[in-house]
Symmetry: C2
Subunit: 340 residues, 2 copies
């Protein structure tokens, strides 16, 4: 351990609209030393997720952004290099919220020990990590989705949406996924086995939606927002339930769109169809994480819930990889950056 060997990507500037590479700065600092009760670990895998745009500020999110000069936040998997905590030994694999830096320290409360014999370590950032927990919680605890009726999942090819959609199928719902482009749509139908898939980039959205939803929407798992939602909301059935998980297409917006004001229409639909719309945030509900792991681990290890990962090699790829989530170019696979 030498000084100036801990690389960090810090927030250099708040984005103006879409985030850019110049909003990040690569800095080097000292590797921290663990105090009594703490553990030093080196991050080997970094999770790339849409909400990381919100940590940068200057967008639609209402939650606190990180400060300029602070390391970017996010879940990581690491390996313990020094321990002053009785529960962790050198060589242990851990998952934490260490953010974009080579090294970090944490006490036991901030660390989850991983067993690489149970599932690949990367799953601790995907289906068996916050990504999967988000999908599971929204499908299980936010609303008690009934085992019949039609579930719509937006961003259905994405890391959260694909798990939510599969949980819907496992629970007996008819599941309609929304995604962009023929490859994602093929994934939804052929690999996830969804009942219908809507390609929001293919045009003729109203007709596609009407064809896919002959019996309307009973349950809705929303990840996307943007112009697709006003088309979908027309198909809510009376008593429909919506889990509001995210609105990735709005995260970079600093102004509201112009044109038709759909707010009165949403209010009318809520009014006459008794919609229930609920939101959640994982930091407030982490006490359900053990229950999630107990249900999801066998589903993942038995292959009943599938997941797709895309690995990007090199610490220096962290900012650029995040940006691909917002330019429409990424595949929908769970993005993980491997440290070098």
């Amino acid at each position: 351990m030498a000084d100036a060997s801990n690389r960090q990507f810090t927030l250099a500037a708040r984005p103006e609209g879409a985030a850019r590479l110049s909003d990040f700065a690569l800095v080097r600092g000292a590797v921290p030393s663990p105090k009594e009760g703490e553990v030093l670990f080196r991050n080997t895998l970094f999770s790339i997720d849409p909400y990381q745009r919100n940590l940068m500020g200057n967008g639609s999110s209402e939650w606190p952004a990180i400060d300029i000069g602070e390391p970017m936040g996010g879940p990581t998997v690491g390996v313990v290099e020094a321990s002053r905590h009785p529960g962790f030994a050198v060589g242990d694999h851990v998952q934490s919220w260490a953010g974009w830096q080579d090294y970090a320290v944490a006490d036991g409360a901030g660390l989850r020990k991983l067993d690489p014999g149970v599932a690949p370590l990367s799953t601790a950032l995907g289906p068996l990590g916050l990504t999967g927990f988000t999908a599971w919680y929204g499908m299980t605890k936010v609303h008690d989705f009934k085992p019949d009726g039609t579930l719509v999942v937006t961003g259905a090819a994405g890391s959260v949406g694909s798990i939510a959609a599969q949980l819907g199928k496992l629970r007996g719902l008819r599941v309609v996924g929304v995604a962009g482009g023929p490859r994602k749509v093929a994934f939804l139908k052929d690999e996830l086995g969804l009942d219908e898939a809507i390609d929001y980039k293919a045009g003729d959205l109203e007709a596609q939606v009407a064809r896919a939803l002959p019996d309307g929407i009973d349950a809705f798992f929303e990840n996307v927002g943007g112009p697709v939602f006003p088309v979908l909301m027309e198909h809510f059935n009376t008593g429909a339930k919506m889990t509001l998980c995210g609105t990735i297409s709005d995260y970079s917006d600093t102004e509201l769109p112009k044109g038709t004001n759909y707010l009165p229409r949403l209010v009318t639909i809520i009014h006459y169809r008794f919609l229930s719309i609920k939101a959640f945030a994982t930091p407030y509900v982490m006490d359900a994480f053990p229950e999630f792991l107990a249900e999801m681990t066998p589903l993942v290890t038995q292959g009943r819930v599938t997941y797709r990962e895309e690995f990007v090699d090199g610490f220096d790829k962290l900012p650029g990889t995040l940006l691909t989530l917002f330019d429409g170019s990424h595949s929908g696979r769970k993005l993980i950056v491997r440290n070098d």
Copy 2:
């Protein structure tokens, strides 16, 4: 009883936007005869309410409109003229959903017998009728509004809003009313004793709202919709609860407004502040009516809940009186047309 002596106002045409007098037709038919188990009554008081616009169709409502040629619907108070039902005698006062006609028949399930010794008969159309029930149910059953925090009521000088606002005060909430014009605002502060009143017609709405809501909104009883709501929604606190009772300003709309699209903003606020928005409709919840009467009757007879009525004389005034609800000219008093 002679033929052609039962006057009715029927729906002659579906409105184009705001309803007009020419959308109604005055017709005369035979006075109906009660069958076994039925009661014939003559309507003496007619309730005039915003949702009657929705019965006419061609507006924002999603519920079935009445057919062209059908009598307009609505609550009435009447007096029994002939009875073939053991529970009702000639001369009894009854409240029913008889609509805009001199005479009607109903079986016992459609009639509520009134005791004029308990409260004035007109209250069966106001604070002790569907109007009051709507306010009470939305304040009591839709959300369990906490006895602290700030409640906002829109349309607060109206027949439903004024009762909701008073129930809020009785339950210990800080209550902020929204209404249009200095006379209604004076009513809210001086007669209802609300903590603050916002005049949405006075301009400078953002500043008025900010002054009236230094601690944000914890509970919201929405009657109005329209351009005021996007200003108010910015002040929702985390976990705020909204009862969606009506959106009178949108009822005549056949197209959505243009300009800023506030839908993504509402979704963002729901997302980050965990709003709970619930709607209800009295026809589905009438089993709570006895509980409502038990709580509200003493409040009204003891003067702890006040109400304002405005009587209009003459059957022929029914259509014109309804229209005043939508042209901004009416006082906010509960409108009741007296039969001649």
